[in-house]
Amino acid sequence: MSAITDIPDAPRAARRPQTGNPVLRWLRKNLFSSIPNGILTVVLLALLAKGIFSFLQWGVANAVWLTPTNDSSACRAVRGVGACWAIVPEKYRFILFGTYPFDEQWRPALSVALFIALYYLSTRRALWRRELAYLWIGALALISVLMWGGVFGLSFVSQDRWGGLPVTLILATFGLAFGFPLGILVALGRRSKLPAIRSLSVLYVELIRGVPLVSLLFMASVMFPLFMPAGFNIDKLLRAQIAIILFAGAYLAEVIRGGLQAVPRGQYEAADALGLSYWRKHRLIILPQAIRHVIPPLVNTFIAFFKDTSLVLIIGIFDLLTTAKTAIIDPAWQQFSVEVYIFVAAIYFVFCFAMSRYSRSLEAPTTPK
């Protein structure tokens, strides 16, 4: 293993004359600072070149990009030596929107666009105002109208025909939209002076965090009907959504609790001195500061949670991953699942990477106002 950056080598670097070609100087400093480092660089370069070369050979040079509809013979001819990207144009409508009626698929597409616009607006610090909440409510209502239809001349589409990316975004967004207030309540409960409320909150958080999400989803899909009065049943998607909300609530509660602990005591005392009630104190003084403290870990929880929505595959809900897995059941295309998984991985990556970049930009020291 090579040396660690933190070892100060400043004095030596200062003595070395800073002359010569800047490119060479950079290479020397960063890649060939010592003999072992030079050897490491060469070995890594060789491995990297080999990896990139074979990937390009498979993914570009020998790849099949387009085939006539529902004809995978060209792909099967290059199987093993080249990628079959043709499966993506062949199946992308199904992967992205599932079994939503084909002619109506502009509706889920528009919903996805609305979701993305909503996420983008929510990242703007300048827009963190009350109006943003109204915007969210309005946009979510609009998305419901688009997805279900049945009004304004849109045909009704039942939610068991929904699928693909909109379902992933719905599960994640509604999970957060409801899980977040739940998390705040539970975090407050866990710090409450009232023993009954505190122990209930602790029990909830520890029980949910102690078991895997898979078992909660099983519970939602198998046990929920048992819990409800006979004849009363709710949709599978909604049951999974409830499980995800409960799951998100417990994890977010722990993050928010960290924020509450970071608010100085004096703030509580000042709020008490003003004679504010418990709720007004938290709403106006404590929570705004607490949440501001934990925005980066909150975004990280959102990322983890966005990825975790893919677990609904196990109980057979058609999210993005399930539609991808279903798309390759088709016998003609069965052998090209790697390409489909790479395509879907790229979609997930774009969302998560954007969020993690955003979280990092928040963590970077901000210039004082």
């Binding site: 100060p8 409320i197 029980l207 048992l226 595959l313 196990i314």
Partner: protein
Amino acid sequence: MTADHPRPPPRRRLFALGRNELKGLFWQVLVVGIAVAVIAFLWSNTVTNLSARRITTGFAFLGREAGMPIADSLLAYNPGDTYFWAFVVGVANTLRVAVIGIVLATILGTLIGISRLSTNWLLSRLAAVYVETLRDIPLLLQLLFWYVLMQALPAARAAWRPIEGVFLSNRGLILPAIPFGPSQLAVLGTAVLGCAVFYLIRRWLIAQQMRDGKPRPAWPFALGLIVVVPAAVSLVLGVSWTIEWPQLRGFNFVGGLTLAPEYFALLIALVTYTSAFIAEIVRSGIQSVPRGQWDAANALGLRRSFMLRQIILPQALRVIVPPMTSQYLNLTKNSSLAVAIGYQDVVSIANTTLNQTGQAIEAIALIMAVFLTISLSISFFMNWYNARIALVER
């Protein structure tokens, strides 16, 4: 002060509750009341539904014959065994993937975390790309991806042989192995005991050195207790340590250690995914050690390995251990994704049981009990370790 005229003590009443206490009591009664009402409602529905479906509650079904096949198990199992034994086999399978996964993920994650801090630009960039890519793709997707790759491997006859004696095919990974019996276990046990005794001796030696300042070498004890004594036991018992090389017979392999494709895919997915998170924890832990500590150690002229071991690592570990605990817990919980590729861990077996018997509540209660036990054990161990390495303020 008004010490001369003390105020009369306030009259004590039996139920002296102030306004705030009353309010607190009201909220608690309300919340607990709602919780109890909801649970009672769900419970009564469940009882009605279960009796309508003629399912008897209770764990009596555990004694019945399971009849489910378990393809890949650590413990001996056949479909004629009871549900209880099937559960135990499932727990063993979960632990098999979790324990080995935790060890491998820690090693890989530490290497990558250190690589990210390397002065070699290429190495640190590659490590960063590794971390970013793996962190931003759902684990389940990675798992399915690895499993598809496993299935696309050549058949046993055309297996890849990266190293002599190691075969990689669609039957999984086949490694040479040493057959383990009670006598081999005895030798291994001696070595473990030797490690424990050596640990105590080393502590005593360090205590001695603290008293008089004379360094005492510990390695002769290590050599004796961990190598010589077990070797002597092995010679006396005449234990054979011949390596069993896997052989291709017909369409499958004979001998050696076989990691089934499901297990191998799950292990790779869990290890690579978790290692990306561990790498970040290790990196931030090392970076959290103030620069002055490096400078001071350098100024004392300490050897590099000594400096890392005695100065940097103990300080970095304080930052590393708490988040590491939650990564270990995550890995263990994530092992339940095995159900998606058909590796029979405890969740998968509970799910089959649930489908066969309809004992939903009991099956889910068992899953929860198993995971809560594992989580609490890991937490306890890591909290103990954390307390041991915590900063002792004077």
